[in-house]
Symmetry: C2
Subunit: 341 residues, 2 copies
């Protein structure tokens, strides 16, 4: 059973998901990536039996679960960091606090096709992926043990992807992650002081200046943040105030598919299909309608190596000015056929 | 001139150290590592002219600066993230705050020998390295623009090292990094509540239990932290309360050399010379004698890939229980000749 442990000083939680090993060097093999090629990829159509049973799918009418015919498929992670069984009682031992590693860890397989990218899927297909995110977001909200949903995507080995078949992941947590709390606390302090949402004000300021705007459609905007940690870091925000990703409407979905596809394509064309992570920052389940917080998606290309200094201090060195990154991305013409494979 | 920018929401600072590039893809080449081999390594003895002039050295009596004869040599980083010239006035633009990228960025070359590791140097040589750290710590304290000194080491390409010749780095900053402030604030809250240093209490609890103690000598202890983020993460702490690394005495230096060498050797032998980062966590220059904070050194082996989820949430998944890591490290016999090269 995995375990959740809290650092007594910084109050950050970690997941200790122990793999028993006979010798310490056994760990090394386990950590190396094993990118399954398409001949044995468990996410390909026709190999549904190789994954845990499907939790949700978007599939051809009448096609049975766990067989072919799907366009998007959600399954439990076969090697979950947290497990769905258990309770959320915390126990202490002197200064230390721990609890069972309770949570959900699911994989959203974004397409039956192996050799493609999320950015290359048709917008309608990306809209189906977003609908799957939303269905899982809402469904896991019903489990009252969960306080937060982390929705994220790793693209490329250097960004931590262990299977190349396009997929995203989600982890439902029985607590709010520390970085999320920090962001929310900061937004609430701003709201108390100014009476407005800091992200709404940020969007207004970015539109007024324009130099860090990458792309916009009627409902979403993509910007290079002023204090970007990573070269070509890009945030996607809904233009209208909305605290929770769970609040997106049916009409928001195609617009989100459009901004996500366009931004990821520009990034792939501009800096040669970089490894990246994206993560959805959303309000906790308890406060879906906060006037202070504003959900958004942060895309972090992994073009630089992160060194100890950054880990230890939270202080990042970014060699690309956000205004330059935005200009390059803004002026990159979206041509799918030009994408490096 | 590099620039320091503050995120308006999380108040985290970043360094924007722009390299001008004609095309965005030019960035990619710049980010790739270029490990100089020993034939052209600028840190090797005899190539002193290839670095900026030396700031400090431990060298043979009478040997002139910037020539051979040194055992430890400190020079400015040739490609500094921050520059020593400039002032620390902050300017705002709407919600945003920026300042000139003022700071010091120095390299501590730990030995004239190219093909070795810090862990393989004699303890007396490691003591010289620590004396160099201490001299730079004290010297940079005299520049009143600096509030904090980040002292760190990257070992191996996967940990961000760009030159294999053994070296550490320091960055003096005109502000306290956010992660440091968080740690200090947490320690101060604990002190107000309990009247004791949280790290002193932690050391006492770890000695009482013993299962996470890796090594100790008369003045220092190495432990696997209860909520370790990384497999085989290890912290080295002085046993006696001491807020600032600047407070180490002449008698502490050999004991620190001993615990550092022993811990790094055990790690190298136990998990096959892993890439690692270490970082010294110390009190800010302004509060060198805080009763609440306790300086220490955190070693973070880089055996797992960090994925988006960890970046976005601060939530780490560690596949090795700290008690297992401590047991493996504790029982690893220190034999230098067995170290993989």
């Amino acid at each position: 059973m995995p375990e959740l442990r809290k650092d007594p000083i910084t109050r950050r939680w970690v997941i200790i998901a122990t793999e028993r090993a006979a010798r310490p060097t056994d760990f090394i093999g386990k950590f190396s990536d094993d990118m399954a090629d398409r001949d044995r990829c468990p996410f390909c159509e026709g190999r549904e039996a190789q994954t845990p049973p499907e939790i949700f799918s978007v599939r051809r009418d009448g096609s049975p679960a766990d067989g072919p015919g799907w366009r998007v498929r959600v399954v439990s992670n076969k090697f979950p960091a947290l497990r769905i069984e258990g309770n959320t009682a915390r126990s202490g031992l002197g200064m230390f606090t721990r609890m069972d590693g309770v949570g959900a860890h699911e994989v959203i397989v974004e397409t039956p096709e192996h050799d493609t990218h999320l950015a290359l899927l048709p917008e309608e297909q990306i809209a189906d992926v977003i609908r799957a995110y939303h269905q899982r977001y809402e469904d896991l909200d019903r489990d009252e043990r969960f306080e937060y949903l982390l929705l994220f995507r790793n693209h490329g080995r250097a960004a931590g992807a262990s299977l190349s078949h396009p997929h995203s992941q989600l982890i439902a947590l029985p607590m709010i992650p520390k970085r999320t709390s920090e962001e929310i606390d900061a937004a609430e302090r701003y709201f108390v002081k100014r009476g407005s949402c800091v992200y709404c004000d940020l969007i207004a300021q970015e539109f007024a200046g324009g130099e860090r705007v990458v792309y916009e459609n009627e409902r979403f905007v993509a910007i290079s943040p002023f204090a970007a940690r990573f070269p070509f870091e890009t945030w996607i925000l809904p233009k209208a105030h909305m605290a929770s990703f769970g609040g997106i409407s049916a009409a928001d979905v195609p617009a989100m598919a459009n901004v996500l596809k366009t931004t990821l394509l520009k990034l792939a064309l501009c800096v040669d299909n970089p490894p990246y992570n994206f993560i959805v920052h959303t309000a906790p389940y308890e406060f879906p309608r906060s006037p202070a917080y504003h959900w958004h998606l942060e895309i972090m290309p992994q073009l630089t190596r992160t060194a100890g200094f950054e880990w230890g201090s939270g202080f990042h060195i970014n060699p690309v000015a956000p205004e330059d990154a935005a200009r390059y991305l803004r002026t990159t013409e979206v041509r799918e056929e030009a994408l490096p494979t």
